[in-house]
Subunit: 198 residues, 2 copies
């Protein structure tokens, strides 16, 4: 009953192939570093002709970007449940991200760890930095210049977080998610003290 313009109803075959390719890439990234995975590998794992790959994606990186979009969607969907009030609005992302990472540990390690594609880490960094920046400074990006602009602070916070996250994911450290969060908060909250929004 939607009044939306007619949608041609996507062809099942297309969806199946694309999804198979997405899944194949992720599966392979659990086994080999992104760099070493070839289009042929992906197609084979997906049970799809190599030609078919190029029907749907321009190249390996294109598929990756597509995958990143799915990850972003997934992260947004499990909207950052504000169950527990964060110690500081700029750190609201910490708890949910750590929880997601723990739930999908293997996936996150493959994506954001050593063998992962740099672009994934960069995009995640960008997303989080955006969140922090907004939490710190409000909407007006063009606000007055200060010695320490929100952007710089956001970089510090997110850089620290990503490094700690990677460290935690890559070693089989005995640290629990809660301990990781506590460590991070203990190290960064004090420095954010003066930044009670404005």
């Amino acid at each position: 009953m939607t009044a939306a313009p007619r949608r041609p109803r996507p062809d099942r075959r297309v969806e199946r192939s694309k999804q198979a390719l997405r899944d194949a890439l992720i599966a392979l990234m659990h086994e080999h570093p992104y760099e070493r995975i070839s289009v042929a590998d992906i197609a084979e794992r997906a049970n799809v002709g190599r030609s078919t790959f190029y029907v749907h994606f321009a190249d390996k990186d294109d598929l990756l970007v597509d995958g990143i979009d799915q990850l972003k969607a997934w992260l947004r969907e499990r909207g950052d449940a504000p169950e527990v009030t964060p110690a500081h609005p700029a750190l609201a992302f910490v708890r949910p991200m750590i929880e997601h990472a723990e739930q999908q540990r293997a996936l996150f390690r493959a994506l954001v760890g050593r063998g992962g594609a740099v672009q994934v880490s960069e995009e995640l960094h960008r997303m989080l930095a955006e969140l922090v920046r907004v939490a710190l400074g409000g909407k007006a990006t063009v606000a007055k210049r200060r010695p320490a602009p929100e952007e710089a602070i956001a970089e510090v916070v997110v850089g620290a977080f990503m490094a700690l996250l990677r460290w935690w994911l890559e070693r089989d450290s005995a640290m629990t998610a809660a301990e990781v969060e506590a460590t991070f908060t203990r190290q960064l909250l004090p420095g954010l003290a003066g930044w009670t929004r404005r």
Copy 2:
């Protein structure tokens, strides 16, 4: 008069070729991302036959590692002059690194920025983390487990630093080196408060 074992006196041709290749890689990294630079490009820029490249280096990454070693040597050589007493021993590296980065801005941007080789950033990260870890915990790595091991703190500190450094290098921000340092210290020093060595 050194009692060192006899050195076969290196052939000039070898040194010239190797150095030309090293320089060529660096020069090219100012223009293109590392990924897109081919061995042929490097050899051509160095005015050297492509075969010659493989006489001296196993592949592109091998040359890169060689370059990293030079960078490390350079950094050590300009020993971190302890002119100014750092706010905290674990932050002793901050001032010198920022100064080096400012002096060799273009180089650092090429090495550690977006188009740079991941390995360079990783190695730098490793080096700095090692410094911080030592400054925090002393020699005994095997010491008693604590909820927040030195390693984790070091990751936080260095991750934050690298992110801020990259951010600073990549935009032509009007921030001065001193301001960058101040921002970083202001954000991280408080969190290190309880960590007065032990």
